[in-house]
């Protein structure tokens, strides 16, 4: 469970990232985080992974405050989450399999265990045949699938996806959404920041809409534009 309790974030230059956010996302839920650029979506996801700290308020992940974590405890928090980025953020000098293996290697697992789990994760995203390819030999959709495999390979309880379909054509975006939905059905909580109206409207997941740092809508039954409904 993810819980934001009266969270505000103001950056050093005076920009307001988030203002008095109160929200609870239950385990196994799929929630979209929508809103225009500058609405606070990135601030929201950065707070979740403890990349930044809020100015006030508290964030609980599975009942535990992440604000009070010591610096050396942050890796443990992140190992329980998976991240997917708009621009994939793969290492270009490593193959698809090596990019996925990366997540497990930092845990200190044995090579054999790493290999087994990497094969399974790449199989889940349908990339078993492309595991020895480097990112620049893969299409955008394939690269994002590698990124998803990297995010799920450690069986995280939560996946944070920041505009994962932003760089993809609609058909590929749909494929990615299918994969994410499958992962969600297996019990993983997914928080996905997106601009993609079509994708949000096609599903009936929860929608959290931010604007100028404020949560202006929390709709359990989907739809991108509440004004149109």
């Amino acid at each position: 469970m993810i819980q934001f309790i009266n969270i505000s974030k103001e950056y050093k230059n005076g920009t307001v990232g988030l203002k008095n956010i109160d929200v609870k996302i239950e385990s196994g839920e799929f929630a979209f985080l929508v809103g225009p650029s500058g609405a606070g979506k990135s601030t929201f996801t950065k707070l979740m992974i403890r990349e930044i700290l809020p100015t006030s308020g508290s964030i609980l992940i599975n009942g535990k405050s992440i604000i009070r974590l010591k610096r050396k405890e942050i890796p443990m928090l992140r190992r329980g989450m998976g991240f997917i980025f708009q621009n994939y953020r793969l290492l270009n000098d490593r193959t698809a399999a090596e990019n996925v293996a990366f997540t497990l290697e930092v845990l200190g697992l044995s090579s054999k265990e790493v290999q087994k789990r990497v094969d399974y994760a790449l199989g889940m995203v349908g990339l078993s045949e492309r595991k020895k390819h480097f990112p620049d030999e893969l299409s955008g959709g394939e690269q994002q699938r590698v990124a998803i495999a990297r995010a799920i390979v450690n069986n995280p309880a939560i996946i944070v996806a920041d505009e994962p379909t932003g760089n993809l054509d609609p058909a590929t975006a749909e494929e990615i959404m299918d994969i994410l939905n499958d992962i969600n059905i297996k019990g993983t909580t997914i928080l996905m920041a997106t601009h993609d109206k079509a994708i949000v409207n096609r599903t009936s997941h929860r929608v959290l809409r931010l604007n100028h740092g404020e949560l202006i809508r929390d709709d359990r039954k989907g739809g991108y534009d509440f004004e149109d409904r």
Binding site: I49, L77, F83, L91, F102, T103, G108, S110, S111
Partner: protein, 296 residues
């Protein structure tokens, strides 16, 4: 087991990265090698300057001529007073007979010289005295000149002053130059390493996002820095060892009046020091450079 796996992956990543970033690795090795080579040569030039100054100091001596009426016993007894001088190192008593013989050697034989001088020996007994440091000469001369047995004291007043000044200036100059070269090497190598690390900041950020500890992120960078530093230092050492050897040989054979250090042990110590310095420079440099990107 976990640590063993960390190290295994760390070592694998180190060599993978060294091979995949050949260009940057080459430039960094070259930078380390050049910085250490220049530093090494500066140290050698400094040591040689000091050596030259101390060789000149070695040659400085006080010559004390005794009065003609001083008996041989009194002359020999004077040595006790000479030995009590501050900074006393050694002395040689030159009896007038030996002095004549020495002069005779220069002027065609003692017999010819004695004949020319009308059968007498006009040379006085003398002491050649060496002190530990040239700064002590003036004080010793003042004491010697007041002794009853002493007729005259010679000590190359101007030369002493010049050698002392030169030696002091060289010492300060060399220390300054070495410090400046160490700083230059640090700045140069550190900025090169920082550039190579900054090119891989994305890799560090991703490692942090997937839950890598700072220790895990640092391992390959630390090892890479160490290897790059060591290779750079080895190149510098080889160039220094053979380069200095050739230069020292040339000076010894063509400019014999210049004293040159040709001490293999010293060269080994210096190359060992540079090797150690290179390893530290590389490992610490990359560790410091990585720190900036760990705040993700």
């Amino acid at each position: 087991m976990k640590i063993a796996n960390y190290l295994k992956f760390g070592i694998r990543d180190t060599f993978r990265s060294l091979l995949r970033h050949k260009g940057m690795v080459f430039v960094t090795i070259l930078t380390v090698a050049i910085a250490l080579l220049v530093l090494g040569f500066t140290v050698l030039v400094s040591l040689n300057s000091q050596y030259m100054a101390s060789s000149m100091e070695e040659q400085l001596e006080i010559i004390v001529f005794l009065r003609d009426d001083v008996t041989r016993d009194d002359a020999l007894a004077l040595e006790t007073k000479i030995r009590a001088l501050e900074g006393y190192k050694e002395d040689v008593f030159v009896p007038k007979e030996d002095a004549l013989m020495l002069m005779g050697d220069k002027f065609g034989g003692e017999t010819i010289l004695t004949e020319a001088l009308g059968g007498t020996n006009p040379l006085p007994d003398a002491y050649n005295i060496k002190l530990n440091a040239p700064e002590q000469i003036q004080g010793a001369v003042n004491i010697l000149e007041k002794m009853d047995e002493v007729e005259m004291v010679r000590y190359g007043q101007d030369l002493v002053k010049n050698v002392v000044t030169l030696s002091d200036a060289l010492y300060i100059g060399c220390i300054g130059l070495i410090v400046a070269m160490i700083i230059a090497a640090l700045v140069l190598v550190n900025s090169t390493i920082r550039l190579t690390v900054s090119a891989r900041s994305e890799e560090i950020a991703i490692m942090k996002y997937v839950g890598a500890t700072n220790f895990y992120v640092r391992i390959p960078f630390f090892l890479e820095g160490l290897i790059i530093g060591l290779i750079g230092a080895i190149l510098a050492d080889v160039a220094l060892y053979f380069g200095y050897g050739a230069i020292a040989e040339y000076i010894k054979s063509s400019m014999t009046f210049i004293p040159v250090i040709s001490d293999n042990l010293l060269l080994l110590k210096l190359t060992g020091g540079l090797l150690f310095g290179g390893a530290i420079l590389g490992a610490l440099g990359s560790n410091i450079a990585v720190k900036k990107y760990l705040k993700v």
